[in-house]
């Protein structure tokens, strides 16, 4: 952790980050602080996606942590017989036919819509409630029952990779910081920027690198950073005068069994195992007061999360955001499951991975609605936004 400490808010007691001018908790102007910016996290660029770990019951491994450079062991290689057929999100009846040698992407064998149909971001005129679905993934956002406006946004796309690598699903969820005017624009701009960045990156694959063949010449870890940087750039461009619109950020990049998560702030990613809910895990660590208080040994978890400052975020995406790259972790799933990224409007109500796994339905769109309903039924105290993506592991011999 950085040795630099931000100012404590005189209004609510929130601990600010170095360089903060306003309190994230209550919006009050903070006393000036001095000191160096937060330490840059080194060496997370250009890490080949082949450096990944098996998703087991253990905790996820951050790229900065031990084990990131060494795969968790053999046996997670991509199978040549991976079944690429995914249900069609557009009609719900057909399947997206395997792209053949003449084709660069899949179309539904019933309705003819591409597996990429239904991708996009929250429409500007439908911020209160919106849904998108592509083959194997779905996104949903909702105002909730208490808030006056929805400052959350999502982005979802299914993009064909070069060669026979199948498709990349890109999901992103951003939660606008309510205390800063214009943050509803920040979250949407960030999501749109992520989809643009991903499309741009896929248009320029490195097809000569054999390590990247399973992902069509795209380094997913690098792409996770590129997406986060694009989001930061888009949000930074919204800053006018003293107002710097801000949002949290969590993204998921999924190709078959490979998944790469990037995040800034307290929007989360979960790995959900439908057949074994208890083996589901959180893939992210919150950039929040409570999480950091626990991490530096200030308080134990119960006390930290009981504190009124618990959910105050310590990192966010904005012109005035704490600098440094996004957290990025890469995994290779050893079984099929679902990756969920969501704003705290969902996980405040249903925090436990196993409980979320029990909400999994037959298809992603149904899962998204079920999870939203769970948050609304529990009070819907915040904007709720989530993206779920099917992770398809290669068939393996039953052990």
């Amino acid at each position: 952790m950085s040795a630099a400490v931000g100012a404590v808010c005189l209004g609510c007691g929130e601990l600010g980050e170095p360089g903060d001018r306003f309190c994230e908790g209550c919006g009050t102007a903070l006393p000036e602080t001095a000191g160096p910016p937060a330490e840059q996290r080194p060496g997370t660029r250009a890490r080949p996606v082949t450096a990944r770990v098996t998703l087991g019951s253990g905790p996820p491994v951050a790229p900065d942590g031990p084990g990131a450079e060494n795969p968790g062991g053999p046996g997670t290689g991509r199978s040549a017989t991976t079944d690429n057929e995914t249900p069609c999100a557009a009609c719900g009846e057909g399947t997206i036919a395997n792209p053949d040698e003449h084709a660069d992407r899949g179309f539904c064998d019933e309705c003819g819509r591409p597996g990429t149909a239904g991708e996009g971001t929250v429409p500007e005129d439908a911020r209160d409630h919106a849904e998108h679905a592509v083959a194997g993934a779905a996104a949903i956002t909702d105002l909730g029952r208490v808030r006056a406006a929805n400052e959350d946004a999502y982005g979802l796309a299914r993009l064909p990779l070069a060669g026979d690598a199948g498709d990349l699903v890109v999901g992103v969820v951003c939660d606008g910081v309510a205390s800063v005017p214009g943050s509803e624009r920040a979250s949407l701009a960030a999501c749109a920027a992520v989809l643009d960045a991903a499309r741009d990156a896929l248009a320029h694959p490195d097809v000569d690198d054999p390590d990247l063949a399973p992902t069509g010449g795209v380094d997913l870890t690098e792409l996770a950073h590129v997406c986060a940087d694009a989001a930061t750039e888009a949000v930074t461009a919204l800053a006018e005068g003293r107002d710097a619109p801000a949002c949290t950020y969590v993204s998921a990049l999924v190709v078959d069994e490979i998944l790469v998560i990037g995040w800034v702030g307290d929007s989360r990613a979960y790995w959900l195992v439908p057949d074994a809910p208890e083996e589901s895990v959180v893939l992210t660590t919150d950039d929040s007061w409570a999480a950091e208080a626990v991490a530096i040994g200030l308080l134990d978890a119960d006390a930290a999360y009981a504190d009124p400052r618990a959910h105050a975020i310590t990192r966010w995406v904005a012109a005035d955001g704490p600098p440094g790259p996004a957290h990025v972790v890469a995994h290779a799933a050893d079984r099929s499951g679902v990756v969920l990224i969501c704003s705290d409007g969902l996980w405040n109500h249903v925090p436990a991975p196993a409980d979320l796994a029990r909400l999994l339905a037959d298809d992603p769109a149904e899962t998204a609605r079920t999870m939203l309903d769970a948050a609304l039924d529990d009070g819907g105290t915040d904007n709720t936004t989530l993206v779920v993506v099917d992770v398809i592991a290669p068939e393996r011999d039953a052990s």
């Binding site: 009609c91 003449h102 539904c108 064998d109 019933e110 309705c111 003819g112 819509r113 591409p114 149909a117």
Partner: protein
């Protein structure tokens, strides 16, 4: 030995205007490496020769028919199953004289030559009975590439058109048939109808002495084919309509009504294409879609070549396939584009229609319509570089300005020239630059 290979390529505009419904695609199907040892010895051929009384008037007609039949037999290699049928008001097997096929070898060739030399003109014409006999001869040999050659010199007058149509229908899928009219007393529509339904060629041999060379050409074409019985496979999404499927090259053939559904896949239609040598044929597929909103994309069609389902296979086996995706756009610069190949073959199909309508009007004495339609044909042929059709049109009309299609009907037109133009009206030019 590597088997035959098919490749399929689609040409279409990928954008539709807002609310646009129809998608046109030209699909080029190319077969390669079709020649194989099995191709020649695996064939079965029936030659149907008109031996009605009129074939003796003049006597050169029946003599030429005999020579042409012998030329065809000489061009066939040993091992091919053959039969020769004499066609009159009923059909008579003349070689062999029993209702069966024989394997061609040194002995049977000599027997065949003797039988053909005895062909004599007498009686009437009922082409349906000839086809029915050919069907009975070829039906027991489904593993062979089955082909027939039909020669007539006159109108099919000793049966009803319904009889002929029923006989033709019974032959579909059993064998392919090239049909020829010799002289100028036969009916273009009858000969063309038989060849069209039986996936063969139709032509005129105005001068009897040219028959032998023509038959040799037919046999060479038939023996060059190594792949029998493939189908055009067209998938369209649920809710879409396959408006039309036409072969547009080398000739125009409307296949729309020949669709049979794939038993396992109701969205898939199969259109029989007959046998193939190393060649390219092109098809125009038109699909009608329910419009989606601007920016949305749909796969309007998958078009390919398939081996039809057999007793052992539940569904047609895809040999090659291409896809026709379209996106609705608000950009007129994109949505108003016309694919050059679609435009070319749309013009070639219109050319064939204009010729037939023009000749019909001319026969019924409607000079105004005949002049207008044949003038339109002249303009279309000139614009598309269809030089063969331009030359045939020039024998029926005096061309004053090919660019605008200003023409005058010729006063004196030989029957042979008119029938040649008529029977060859469906031949299309390839897109220029294709070679």
């Amino acid at each position: 030995m590597t088997g035959p290979r098919f490749t399929v390529e689609a040409f279409h505009e990928a954008h539709l205007p807002e609310g646009g419904r129809e998608v046109d695609a030209i699909v080029a199907v190319t077969a390669a490496d079709t020649a194989g040892a099995a191709a020649t010895t695996g064939s079965a051929v029936v030659v149907m020769i008109d031996c009605s009384g009129s074939m003796g008037d003049p006597a050169t007609k029946i003599a030429s028919a005999r020579r042409a039949t012998l030329a065809a037999l000489d061009a066939l290699p040993d091992g091919v199953l053959v039969a020769v049928v004499a066609g009159r008001h009923r059909a008579q097997p003349v070689f062999p004289t029993a209702e069966r096929l024989v394997v061609l070898d040194r002995t049977t060739r000599a027997q065949a030559r003797a039988a053909v030399a005895d062909l004599t003109p007498s009686g009437g014409t009922a082409i349906g009975t000839w086809l029915t006999l050919a069907q009975r001869l070829l039906a027991p040999h489904p593993r062979r590439l089955r082909h027939a050659i039909l020669l007539t010199d006159g109108r099919d007058e000793h049966e009803t058109p319904e009889d002929l149509a029923a006989a033709v229908a019974a032959c579909e899928g059993v064998f392919t048939c090239d049909a020829r009219g010799v002289g100028t007393d036969w009916v273009v529509e009858e000969v063309r109808g038989i060849a069209s339904a039986l996936l063969g060629t139709a032509d005129i041999v105005a001068a009897p002495e040219d028959l032998a060379a023509d038959f040799e050409g037919i046999v060479a074409g038939a023996m060059g084919r190594g792949v029998g019985d493939v189908a055009l496979r067209v998938w369209a999404p649920r809710g879409a309509t396959v408006v039309s499927v036409k072969q547009v090259s080398p000739t125009v053939e409307d296949l729309t009504d020949r669709r049979t559904p794939d038993p396992a896949k109701p969205l898939v239609g199969l259109y029989p294409l007959g046998s193939w040598g190393d060649e390219t044929r092109e098809y125009h597929v038109r699909i009608a879609l329910e419009p989606l909103t601007v920016g949305e994309e749909i796969l309007a069609a998958r078009v390919g070549v398939a081996a039809p389902p057999t007793a052992d296979t539940a569904t047609a086996e895809i040999l090659a396939e291409t896809r026709v995706p379209v996106t609705w756009t608000g950009d007129p610069a994109l949505s108003t584009r016309l694919n050059p190949r679609v435009a070319h073959y749309t013009g070639q199909a219109e050319l064939a229609d204009a010729i037939r309508e023009g000749l019909d009007a001319r026969r019924s004495g409607d000079v105004r319509v005949a002049t207008a339609r044949l003038g339109r044909a002249v303009a279309l042929a000139a614009a598309s570089g269809n030089d063969e059709t331009s030359a045939l049109l020039a024998k029926v009309v005096e061309v004053e300005d090919p660019a605008t299609g200003r023409v005058r009907l010729r006063r004196e037109v030989t029957a042979a020239d008119e029938m040649t133009l008529d029977v060859r009206s469906t031949r299309t030019a390839r897109v220029r630059g294709d070679g």
